[in-house]
Structure formats: structure tokens, C-alpha cells
Symmetry: C2
Subunit: 216 residues, 2 copies
């Protein structure tokens, strides 16, 4: 039995691969592990059956035999630990790749989500025009640091790893913000991630779900 | 040679154990691993020598032989993987404990930091009174979910783990917000963490640094 993940029945991103199931799909595609998908509605996400899998009522979850996991970072790490292709063999390089996973989620993603939330929910507020540049500048700080770190390298630390997978999915949330264009090295890095065949397969799979749901 | 971590030369939290070196100190105390501390100034954190260790110019870092790591979550996981006491032996329970580490950093911490940032930097803004309840409510959602999950349990998933260590340090950022009092099960959970001898030793060690720095 392949593992089962959950994803939005009707993704609010309209199939642009911004929902967090994309990270898990991509990881499974990189390691060549087939998987099943169970779609959940917004209502079902907050119902007891799903809360038993995910205490915060979100997607994705991951079920494999008697193991149930939540948090995209934890699921990707779990997959990376059990299959070749997402973590280096060298112990130090492995720990550094995991550090980049945490950096993506804990240092780079929060200001990006804060900007995205403001653009979604505070656009009509009196303070929007004054707060927006402040939020954009917080994201620019991180993009500048990432750009300096990357330099002319293809990936964050040697070969492609789960750290790059998480970082690229986090940065893709900026696709429509215009900010990535200000940091060509970071934009090129995201492009390299999106060009990987495993990314394309994962992206097409989540887009097919959205297209099926929105068919009349 | 014991590992060396970095911490603020002069912590902005005035020794209340809110800086992220506290997580690493606590983990090292739980597993009984001695460590050295190198203090860094705000200026030194953004200088090339420190940026070579931490691409985002923050603390803590962790150096052990030829390994250099950054991100408190990654450092705590690295320690937990190499010493007994912070991760269950059972493979599924181990993966779930790691899921709680990610949940602490990726799901629970961001709205707490956002609230803290607004209370620090937006107190004099025209929008503060309108935004504050919105930010508090986002934190309340997570506290409610955590409270429901905890029920009458002592820890998040069986015995104390690195997941609890990360979650307690994240929740402690709310100590002066008044919000924890609204969720007695969560407040008691934080209290259980703070009562652990290893927490006390770590807390006292970071407080001693602050007291030494602020001595006339």
C-alpha cells in the first residue's frame, strides 16, 4: 500500500502549486515513491476525523501503515530519511541540508506569509499603503541574504537536497509579488527547482486536482 | 572539545530566556552534554566571520569539530539524534516528535512573533488598536487547538521530547501577553517545561550572561 497524503479538495491558490501538499508531492516524486491522495474540504479539515490526524486542522497529512504525520517539513524529512535522493550521505552535509529545511520554514517563510496575508486581507485597510513597504522590506532582507549566500552556486549547499526543495516552495509564494525579480540569483534558483522533472510531475498532479474540481 | 554555541552578548530580552540560544542550551542540558558559549554583539552578527556560520546573521550557531550548523530547530534535532533523552526509540513516535518540532516553529511560532513584533514596533501607529485584537485572535486559534490536543496529558505525544522542548520555548514568548492565562492547560504545560531541572540550568546560564553584561 502506498502512503496517502491529504490535499485541498478545492485549493485557494487555483492550482498554482502554493498549497503545502506540493512540497510532499515533490519529495515523493524526487524519490520515486508512488502515493495516494485524499482530498478534503475546508469543512472536513476542521472535523474530528481530520483533527485526529492534524491537530491544527490543515493539510497535508501523511499516512503510511500505522504512522500518521502532519507538518510538511516533518513529512518531507521523514521521506528524505527513508529514501535516497533528498539528503547527502555525509553526516555533516546531511545536518546542514536539514538546517536549510528549518531555515526555509522558520526564517524565510514567516515574512513571506505575513506579506501574502496582508495582500489578501488588509488591502482595504487605511494602513495598507504604509505597512506594505515595511513588509516588503522584511522579505527583501531575507532575499538579499539568500542571494549573497547563493552567489553563483546552483543549490544552497552542494547538490540538490530537501533543504532546496523546501526553500524553493517557500520562495515560490513570491511569484506574483514582483520581489523575486529584484534578486536575479534567487529567481534563477527558484527556476532551477521548478525545472526539475519531479517538480513538474508534482505540479501537474496538483493542477489536475484543481482542474477536475473546477470543471462544470 | 565540547561544542560551541553562540548567544547574544547583550540579549534584547534582558535575560528572560526568550532568545533562541535558550532552546539549544536546554537541549544540551537535557542530554547532559557540556558546551562552550561564544557571545556575539549585534555588529559582529552581521560581519563576514559570523555570516560564514549563519547566512542570516543570527544566533544561535553550533560548532562541533568540522561541523557548523545554524537554525535552533536543526541544532536541537542534531543533538537529539546523537544523544538519548529527546527522541523516542520507537520509529513512529520519533517521527511524530519531530513533527511537533516543525509544528512549534512553522505553525505556532509565526503568529506569536507577529504579535510580538507589532507590540514592539507598531505601538505608536494609528492602526495598532485595530490590528492588535486581530493578531491576538490568530494566536488564540493556535492556543485553542493546542489546548484541545493536550487535554489532560502532560506532554504533546507520550513522554517529554524535543517537540515539547521547542513548543514550550515558542509558547514562553507569550509570557507577558496575558494570552496564556486564557488557556490553563497550555499554561500548565509551559509550567511543566519550565520546571524541568535542565530548563532551570539553561535558564540560569543565559541569565548569568545578561547579568554579567549589564554589570556596571
Amino acid at each position: 500500500m502506498p502512503p496517502t497524503i491529504t490535499a485541498f479538495e478545492n485549493s485557494p491558490d487555483r492550482g498554482r502549486g502554493q498549497a503545502r501538499d506540493m512540497r510532499v508531492r515533490w519529495a515523493l516524486e524526487e524519490v520515486g515513491q508512488p502515493y495516494d491522495v485524499r482530498l478534503v474540504s475546508f469543512e472536513a479539515m476542521k472535523a474530528p476525523a481530520h483533527l485526529a490526524l492534524h491537530p491544527f486542522g490543515q493539510i497535508p497529512t501523511y499516512e503510511d501503515g500505522d504512522l500518521a504525520l502532519f507538518e510538511s517539513g516533518a513529512i518531507v524529512l521523514h521521506i528524505a530519511e527513508r529514501h535516497d535522493g533528498l539528503l547527502p550521505k555525509d553526516a555533516n552535509a546531511r545536518s546542514r541540508a536539514i538546517a536549510w529545511m528549518f531555515a526555509a520554514l522558520s526564517t524565510v517563510e514567516p515574512p513571506i506569509v505575513e506579506l501574502a496575508m496582508a495582500m489578501l486581507f488588509e488591502r482595504d485597510k487605511s494602513w495598507y499603503a504604509e505597512r506594505l513597504p515595511m513588509l516588503q522590506d522584511r522579505v527583501r532582507v531575507r532575499l538579499g541574504e539568500l542571494s549573497r549566500h547563493l552567489g553563483s552556486a546552483d543549490w544552497l549547499d552542494g547538490t540538490f537536497s530537501a533543504g532546496d526543495l523546501m526553500m524553493v516552495t517557500v520562495l515560490r509564494r513570491l511569484n506574483t509579488s514582483g520581489l523575486l525579480d529584484e534578486y536575479p540569483a534567487v529567481a534563477a534558483y527558484v527556476g532551477r527547482g521548478e525545472a526539475r522533472p519531479a517538480f513538474r510531475r508534482a505540479f501537474d498532479a496538483q493542477l489536475a486536482v484543481f482542474n477536475a474540481a473546477s470543471r462544470p
